[in-house]
Structure formats: C-alpha cells, structure tokens
C-alpha cells in the first residue's frame, strides 16, 4: 500500500539557478519543458528555483507558476553570491536522493535530460558533454583550451565542465563543500573524492549555440580558479610539500648567489656596495624563508583541523554481527603450548 508519506518521498530534486547576467528563457515555457522530462522519468520530483540576486521579473513569473499549483520552491538570495553558493542553498532546501542541476535556458535537448536521469543508475554523478558542438569556432576554441589546461593541471579528462546539466547523488554535495564560482569543478572534486563520475554525450540545443565573448575579467577569474583548483586537488593536505619545496629552492638559489658574491668580495676584491645583485640574493633567501614559513602555517591549519577534513568515502561496511562463528574450523589447529 502506498501511504501518503511514501508518495511524498522525493526521489529527485531539480535545482535551477537564475542569475541576471545569464540568458534566460521564458520561465513558464522552460518549466513546462523540464517538467515533461521529469514526468517521463516516473520519479517523484521537486523543483527548486534559486534566484541569485535581483530579478523581479523572474520572481513574478515563478509566483504565477506557484499560484497555478506547480510544486516548486523558490529561494531568493539577497545579493549575488555565485553559482556554487546558490547551488548549496538550493541543495539545503532539497530533499531528493538525486540532485539534477538545470540551466535557466535551454542548453541541451530535453530528451537528453531523461537519458541523464536513467544513466545515473549505479554511478554517483553523470555530467553532460555537448557533442557535437553547434556553436562557432571561437566557443569551441575557448572551452577546448580551458579543458586542455584542466587536463594538464589536474589530470582529469572531462570535456565539458561548463555544461550546467548534471545529475548526482545527494552524498556528493554532502561531502564536498563549494563556494563562489567553484561549481563547475564539482565533477573534478567528486572524482578526486572517489565518486564514480561519468560523461554522457548530449545534443546541444540551438538556443545554446551562440557565440559568446566574455569580459576580460572573466578569463582572469577562470585562470585564478584553475590555480585554486590545482591546490585543492594536489596539495590540500600537504602544504609543506609545495611551499616547503618552493621555499627551499629559492632559498638555495639565494644562498648560492650569496656564496659566489662572498668569494668574489674576499678573493677577487670586487666591491659590493653598489651591486644590486646582493639585494637579489638576500631577496631570494627571504622569499625562501617566507614560503617555508607559510607552508608551516598551512601544516598547522591542516593539523588542527584534520578532523573536519575527512575526504574519503566508505562504500560499504560488512559486519555479519549475527553470522555464526564457525567453531569447528578452529579445532583443526594443533595444540602448541
């Protein structure tokens, strides 16, 4: 018998983030399209709309939807906090075992959303890979370079991190904390944590296939993100290995330089008073000390907070508490005293 409570059990929460700088389609139309895909999946679903910043028009539309009796939750953030934070907020409001993130405009073909939901089956996360790309050379080139860089730096081989359409298990966001703009790196971090992440080729929608130029600051932000992700993935728990090595190398360079200058001064009588190279040598040594010291501080942070940093996932614990102890088996061993 299906009780009311079971009926209300949510299997899948779809989170849609609205942000003023993004494209967005007609809210009603989009909701209808998404709803059709989720309906086809035969899962119990809910919609969570997160409005990141001031978008009165969208809020109005969502209100209308709500009054029409749609099962939606709307969360509005006071100011713009970034996609990752918006996703966290949406996640906190959600109750589904599966989380599906959807863009505020049609990015992929609707049928593919259904395919994505079906593909998650025994995996932890499925991300979509828009292929073949319909947009122009420029977009292709941009994201190509970005993905190549990520592959080079982190070693993960994902083709389309920018695509918003992703589905993952609740556990993934329970374990991984993100903020600001890091949401696009969720698959990388999840992969590193040990979750099973896979790509699914999807058809790009025509609406998505527009040439996009980004403001220059965007590229710089991307680049900085790359660096931070590099640290997140490689050195989170061993800062001294990075800072310490850097520090030792620079200190060593400065020290060797100092010795050379010293020898020159004592044996060759080269005056040092007006040679800037002396300052370079001292600067290198000082930088070395600073880097090493920062590494030590990093280690202190890790050490004192290590309990919060449990970054592994236990798949199963097998404990046959009630399984019989096979006593006979132990009688075979010869007595030795």
């Amino acid at each position: 018998m299906v009780t009311q409570e079971m009926k209300n059990q949510i299997d899948l929460s779809a989170i849609i983030i609205y942000y003023e700088k993004y494209l967005y389609d007609d809210v009603k139309e989009l909701h209808k399209a998404y709803k059709a895909s989720l309906e086809a999946s035969q899962l119990n679903y809910e919609f969570i709309y997160v409005v990141d910043g001031e978008l009165p028009a969208v809020i109005d539309e969502l209100n209308k939807l709500y009054k029409l009796g749609e099962r939606i939750k709307v969360v509005k953030l006071g100011k713009w906090f970034g996609d990752a934070t918006a996703l966290q907020v949406g996640f906190e409001q959600s109750s589904g075992e599966l989380i599906l993130t959807l863009p505020s405009y049609k990015q992929v073909d609707e049928n593919d959303i259904l395919r994505l939901i079906q593909a998650v089956n025994n995996k932890d996360m499925i991300i979509s890979w828009r292929w073949p790309r319909l947009d122009g050379m420029l977009n292709n080139f941009q994201s190509g370079v970005f993905n190549k860089l990520i592959k080079l730096i982190v070693g993960s081989d994902f083709h389309d991190l920018k695509c918003v359409v992703k589905i993952f298990r609740r556990e993934v966001l329970d374990k991984i904390y993100m903020y600001g703009d890091q949401d696009r790196f969720l698959p990388l971090l999840a992969d590193k944590y040990g979750f099973k992440v896979e790509e699914l080729k999807v058809t790009q929608s025509k609406k998505d296939a527009v040439q996009k130029f980004y403001p220059f600051a965007n590229y710089i932000a991307r680049f900085l993100e790359l660096i931070s992700i590099f640290f997140l993935v490689k050195f989170t728990k061993k800062p001294i290995r990075f800072f310490g090595s850097t520090g030792l190398i620079t200190f060593g360079m400065g020290f060797i330089l100092a010795i050379i200058l010293f020898v020159e001064r004592i044996f060759l009588g080269v005056a040092l008073a007006d040679r800037p190279i002396v300052l370079v040598s001292i600067l290198l040594m000082i930088f070395g000390i600073q880097a090493f010291a920062i590494g030590l501080v990093g280690e202190l942070i890790i050490f004192t907070h290590a309990k919060d940093l449990k970054d592994y996932v236990i798949e199963t614990i097998v404990d046959y508490e009630n399984a019989p102890v096979n006593e006979e088996k132990h009688q075979e061993y010869p007595q030795h005293v």
Partner: protein, 308 residues
C-alpha cells in the same frame, strides 16, 4: 572487545584467504574476544569478493570497503574509526608480516606500553630499492626527532585505542605515527618481528619518498616543539631578523660618516628587506595563534591516559 586487527588490503585477491587463516590461527589461543577489520582500499581485483565469502562464515571478520584507492594512511584511518577493540593492531595485507607476532606484541603491551612497534631486524627485501632508502629514512627521522624508532616502515604495530582514535591521519601520517605519538608522550616498545619475502603480487609502494616524508616530519616537529612558545616561535625569528635589520642599518649609518660619498644602496636595501621579513614573521606568528585557538585539535589533548 579486546582486540581489533586492522589490515588494509589493496589488490590482494590471492593473499586474503591465507591472511585470514594465518591471523585467526595466531589469535586462536589468545582467548580474547577480537575482530579483524579488512579495509579494502579500492581494490580492482576480487579482493572484496573473496573477503566477503570469508566474512559470511565468521562474524569476527569485518570489511570496510572504500570507494576508491586512497592510500594506506586513509585506509588505516577508516579502519581505526570503525574498530571497537581496546587494543588496535595493524599489519600489512601482503603476508610479509607474521601474525604469530601479535601475541608477543600484546604481551609486551601488558607490561604497560601504549605502543608496541615491530622491527624487521631480518628484512626480506631487495637491498638497493627497499632496504637502503628505508635505512636512510630511519636514520634521518631519528636525527630530526631524537626518538629512537628503529623501523618506521614496519606495518605490524599494536596501539592502545585511545592513543590513536584522536590522531589526525592525513597525507602519509601512518609512517610517522610512532614518532609523533612518542613526541606527545606515549610510551613505546619495540620488538623484533619476523619478516617474510613477498609471495604474491608485487610491492605497491614505490621507491622510498624520503624527501617528502622528511618535509612532513620537519613540519610536524616544528609544530610540536613550538606550540607552547609565544607566537609559535615566529616571534623569536621575527626578533632575530629585526635585529639583523638594525645591525645592517647601524653599519650603513656609520659608513655614511666614515666613507662619505660611497653608495649605500645595498646596505640600506638589505636592512629594509630584513625589516620586512621581521614584520612578516611576526604577523605569521599571530596567524598561528589564531589558527591554533580556533582549531578543534589541541596537541595537549592528543595523549591522555585513562587509568583503569
């Protein structure tokens, strides 16, 4: 529960059965309630299936299966967190350790030690690739910490559970654990253990990573030695570097009067650089203070003995 034997295994499908047999055999005459925790560190072969078959007929065998391969430290941590014994014994899953040593270690422990370490005095490994790097590493660790642990790489160890349950396990901490627990005051003993050549598979740990382990060690030693000094010792470094700055500045000013007209760029520059270093270190010291205050793990709480 008296005893938990935690064994991380990674791709040991052939060894698992032998391992189980050997351990149960060794513990049979001990007459203590015990459990064996196999931590499957994301094996890609049939290790888990084999272990599962064994576990279904023996409730004392438990399996903790990790989602992927995380390395030995993490595997051990997962094992410790799920172990229920008062004493926790760790060993390698590759049959190179001999479980028959476990009763000996427990006897030693009853003499009042917190940790009993195995020491492979007759090690069955290649000299150049395994034994030599390990000898150098052990020597270095002894020199840096002053703690006379003979064999930091030996996996067979017995710990009192309360000594390690609170222990932060990250990076490659498991190698340094004896040294670090000794640094906070745990009493340790070392006994000679048997060591067998590898039967199956190949060694999963590459050539020794002495350099990395040493860096980790320097960091930890610094943290442990300086945490009770104001500003974590950075205060003293800051003072020293401030002093250097002042000395150079004085020399510069003297030169100004003794040799007027000579260029003083380097002297004043150097003085300024050391002054900035001094400030930087002072600030870092304050940061350390903040971090330590807000952290949830205090070094002084790491080792607490409950008297029974």
């Amino acid at each position: 529960m008296d005893l938990s034997v935690v064994i991380p295994v990674y791709n040991e499908e052939e060894s698992v059965n032998f391992l189980y047999e050997a351990v149960t055999k060794a513990l049979f005459y001990l007459n203590r309630p015990y459990e064996i925790l196999l931590v499957d560190d994301g094996s890609k072969d049939d290790t888990y299936q084999n272990a599962l078959t064994l576990a279904s007929s023996d409730s004392r065998l438990k399996i903790v299966k990790l989602k992927r391969n995380y390395g030995q430290t993490t595997a051990l941590h997962a094992g410790f967190q799920n172990a229920k014994g008062k004493v926790i014994v760790t060993m390698d899953g590759d049959l190179q350790n001999d479980p028959d040593d476990i009763p000996l270690m427990l006897n030693k422990m009853d003499e009042g030690y917190d940790i009993v370490l195995g020491w492979r005095h007759d090690r069955k490994d290649f000299f150049i690739s395994r034994k030599l790097p390990s000898k150098i590493a052990n020597w270095l660790i002894r020199k840096v910490t002053g703690i006379p642990v003979k064999d930091n790489g030996c996996a067979i160890r017995a710990y009192r559970a309360e000594v390690i349950k609170n222990f932060p396990m990250y990076s490659e901490m498991h190698r340094l654990m004896p040294v670090i627990t000794a640094l906070v005051g745990a009493k340790f003993a070392q006994i000679k253990v048997k060591h067998h050549p590898r039967k199956f598979g190949h060694s999963k740990y590459g050539l020794s990573r002495i350099y990395k382990v040493l860096l980790d060690l320097v960091a930890l030693k610094t943290i442990f030695s300086f945490f009770y000094i104001p500003l974590f010792g950075f205060g003293f470094l800051a003072l020293a570097s401030g002093l250097i700055s002042l000395v150079i500045l004085t020399i510069g000013i003297l030169f100004l009067f003794i040799y007027p007209g000579q260029s003083l760029v380097t002297l004043f520059g150097a003085s300024a650089l050391f002054a900035s270093l001094s400030l930087f270190l002072y600030f870092l010291g304050i940061m350390c203070h903040l971090i330590y205050r807000t952290g949830n793990l205090k070094i002084e709480n790491l080792y607490r003995i409950k008297f029974r």
